[in-house]
């Protein structure tokens, strides 16, 4: 239990010299992870236990090295490592920075990120898996042990990428973590593929936003032994969403009844906070999507739904995040903040295309809001507009043009006013703003 390697041991990096073991990081089911120093920089080295150090695993790694990382959000294998006299092999990958935390830490309440960070983490996860899937690859083992996020920014890192392979490939390795596996995989009726990944991704997103599992409700309480039969029934034969609109047989159990939270107690709390649109997409994912892989939410659908959720962030005067429930034509807002219970004021809203964006004091608008470029969908790196206060009268709010192109505002008398980059337009109900290809209305 002291690990295979000692501090100072050297391990050969295939064709590229050797690395030195700095410390033991941890162990898992497949192998051990060490911090190593290679060419003056620190990396993580995963070394497989002999049972997992198969030729097939080596082939998978070599293929992953050939393909290269799909994007910066993956802790992708960099080099294979071997050591004379030590059974097995391993690989080097970038180290996970300390500011990236596990979803387990979220579940345990050890971190308390903002809703915005959680939504951004969800968006970034979807984008990462989209990058993978567009290459025809599937992850095969998505679970909350494989994804880390920065609670401050919502940045994500996908690790344990050594099971990734071609969609639908004949594969006898890891089929996934039972809780996250698509029903057809649990039942042995399919090979891991992009559609099974989409189910796992939906489970992961639900975990992230609801701190609970979408299929673990009341039925869990009747499980005497958590064995294969229980797993197959719960996740394969008869999976049922804890918020199934038709049947309450597997409903989320209130925390007062099951304080462990395992059966959806926390999810019940969060579910009530989110707007109907988000609840609808999760309902689709975990009703039709369970039995019909083709009906599962795609990455683009998720990005649309999560972007909409982000647009609906609505801060109470007490700074608590609420979500705006109504649409542009409907003035309905939640009657009271879920935390302070005080009535919520009606926010400024911008309707642009089919989106309704709540304009909070710190709101920013991006490319996808203006439909300028499909390529930049959900790209939050460059803001094109931001809320701003009139320096002479802090009660007067405006929208500042942060882009390179001018906006054209239609005044109430029909006059057209140019808003040059850097300038702001005061918010007035009914004001129409031309953002290049699209037009927005303040409501």
């Amino acid at each position: 239990m002291t690990g295979l390697f000692k501090i100072g041991d050297t391990v050969s990096v295939t064709g590229c010299g050797s690395c030195e073991v700095v410390s033991h990081v941890g162990g898992g089911g497949q192998g051990e992870v060490y911090r190593v120093r290679w060419n003056g920089h620190d990396y993580a080295m995963k070394w497989y236990h002999s049972a997992s150090a198969t030729q097939r695993q080596r082939d998978i790694l070599q293929e992953l090295l050939r393909i290269g990382t799909p994007g910066p959000d993956f802790l992708w294998p960099l080099e294979l490592v071997d050591r004379k006299g030590t059974p097995g092999f391993g690989y080097l990958m970038p180290l996970r920075p300390a500011n990236f935390k596990s979803i387990e830490a979220l579940m345990a309440g050890r971190i308390n990120p903002s809703f915005l960070s959680l939504i951004d983490a969800a968006i970034n996860l979807v984008k990462a898996f989209r990058q993978l899937h567009t290459k025809g690859l599937c992850y095969r083992d998505i679970s909350f042990g494989n994804a880390f996020f920065d609670p401050a920014t919502g940045g994500v890192l996908v690790c344990d990428n050594d099971n990734i392979g071609a969609s639908n490939a004949a594969y006898t390795g890891i089929l996934g973590t039972p809780d996250f596996m698509a029903p057809e995989l649990v039942l042995g009726k399919a090979k891991p593929n992009i559609k099974t990944d989409l189910h796992s991704l939906a489970v992961l997103l639900f975990y992230l936003l609801h701190v609970g599992h979408p299929l673990m409700g009341r039925r869990v309480l009747s499980i005497k032994c958590w064995d294969a039969a229980a797993r197959i029934r719960l996740f394969g034969e008869a999976p049922q969403f804890i918020f199934d609109p038709v049947s309450r047989a597997n409903e989320a159990v209130d925390l007062r009844e099951d304080t462990t939270g395992e059966t959806g107690g926390m999810a019940l709390t969060y579910w009530r906070l989110y707007p109907t649109k988000l609840r609808d997409v999760f309902t689709k994912a975990f009703t039709h999507g369970l039995s019909a892989p083709g009906a599962r939410m795609t990455e683009l659908e998720w990005l649309g739904a999560l972007s909409d959720l982000r647009n609906r962030i609505f801060r109470c005067a007490c700074q608590t995040t609420n979500f705006f429930e109504g649409d542009a034509a409907d003035d309905t807002v939640r009657p009271a903040c879920w935390r302070c219970k005080k009535p919520l004021h009606r926010p400024w809203l911008l309707r642009v295309g089919s989106d309704t964006v709540v304009l909070n004091a710190d709101s920013r608008l991006y490319n996808h809001h203006f439909r300028n470029s499909a390529a930049g969908f959900c790209d939050f790196s460059t803001a094109l507009a931001e809320m701003t206060q009139n320096p002479g009268d802090p009660n007067v709010w405006g929208l500042r043009n942060l882009g390179k192109d001018k906006w054209v505002v239609t005044a109430q008398d029909g006059a057209l006013i140019d808003i040059e980059p850097g300038r702001a337009i005061p918010l007035r109900q009914g004001a129409k703003i031309g953002f290049g290809l699209s037009e927005g209305v303040i409501i």
């Binding site: 997992s52 032994c225 462990t260 395992e262």
Partner: protein, 294 residues
């Protein structure tokens, strides 16, 4: 060092001298699997040799006025922990591939342990409702507080070991050649002074800390695992001194029989309590016995 392939388990629990003086019972509890070879008498003669799977659970009842049934809470904690863990490892993990075992245990066990303990408490309450005087001390928001207790669990099987901890107490592993001792679970930095997490807390399952080891080979198995309540470790003036005691236990265990070791444990723990905090003290050992002195 002449280590055997079979696990021996020896454990003892003594009533603290302060508890004797104040008339309080021993509020610690210990249980293990496989069960003792001989019928146990309270906390005496708790030893057993095992095949491949060995489990050891220790619990420390909080003992405060609000936790007036914590001795019972601790007893139920170790019983339910051993039973749930045995079921999960022996039945639940059947067919689960080795690489997925860690996740399966880590995700399931804390919830099952906590729920099972609470169910046992509810059953106990039905059989023994709070008395009129007790009702005055019951936490109206959480009656489980009356049974509040910690839980430490060590499990070792043929090719893996894991440790689970909720609340204070100590676990130490001795392994390697020469033997070195270390704590498999870091001390909880979120707790200060005598604060402890408890089975009676809401979200207790989420507060469990967990560590899993997969043995890379037969020799990678630990030589000894020590599990104790804080009444034992608190008697050491330094952490280093406490950690050093584990290899000493191993040396002594390999030179003697489990019976002799068990007797000595009782004596040492008694001395620990008398000379230290006066708290109850409980200590269990899983070790690879020498095998020739059984």
């Amino acid at each position: 060092m002449g280590l055997s392939d079979k696990w021996q388990i020896v454990a003892e629990s003594v009533r603290g001298t302060a508890h004797v003086r104040s008339g309080l019972p021993n509020q610690d509890a210990v249980a293990f699997y496989p069960p003792p070879l001989a019928a146990s008498d309270g906390h005496k003669r708790l030893w057993a040799k095992t095949g491949s799977l060995a489990l050891l659970a220790v619990s420390d009842g909080h003992g405060s006025p609000r936790c007036f049934r914590s001795a019972r809470g601790a007893a139920l904690a170790v019983q339910t922990a051993i039973e749930e863990t045995r079921i999960l490892l022996r039945k639940g993990l059947k067919g689960v591939p080795a690489p997925s075992r860690k996740k399966e245990i880590e995700q399931r066990l804390p919830f099952r342990l906590v729920r099972s303990w609470r169910n046992a408490i509810e059953q106990d309450l039905r059989a023994n409702p709070f008395t009129e005087p007790e009702l005055a001390s019951v936490n109206p928001n959480n009656p489980f507080t009356a049974y509040g207790a910690t839980l430490l669990l060590a499990a070792v099987d043929r090719d893996f070991a894991f440790f689970l901890q909720l609340g204070d107490g100590d676990m130490v592993v001795v392994s390697g050649s020469p033997p070195v001792s270390y704590e498999p679970i870091d001390r909880d930095a979120s707790l200060i002074a005598n604060e402890t997490h408890s089975l009676c807390q809401d979200k207790a399952a989420s507060l469990c800390r967990f560590r899993y080891y997969c043995f890379s080979c037969k020799d990678d198995r630990p030589a000894l695992i020590l599990v104790s309540t804080d009444g034992y470790s608190n008697s050491f003036s330094t952490r280093t001194g406490f950690l050093q005691a584990a290899p000493d236990f191993l040396r002594f265990a390999l030179e003697t029989t489990p019976d002799e070791l068990h007797q000595k444990l009782g004596t040492w723990l008694q001395e620990t309590s008398e000379n230290g905090s006066g708290d109850d003290a409980t200590l269990g050992l899983i070790y690879r016995g020498g095998g020739n002195k059984l």
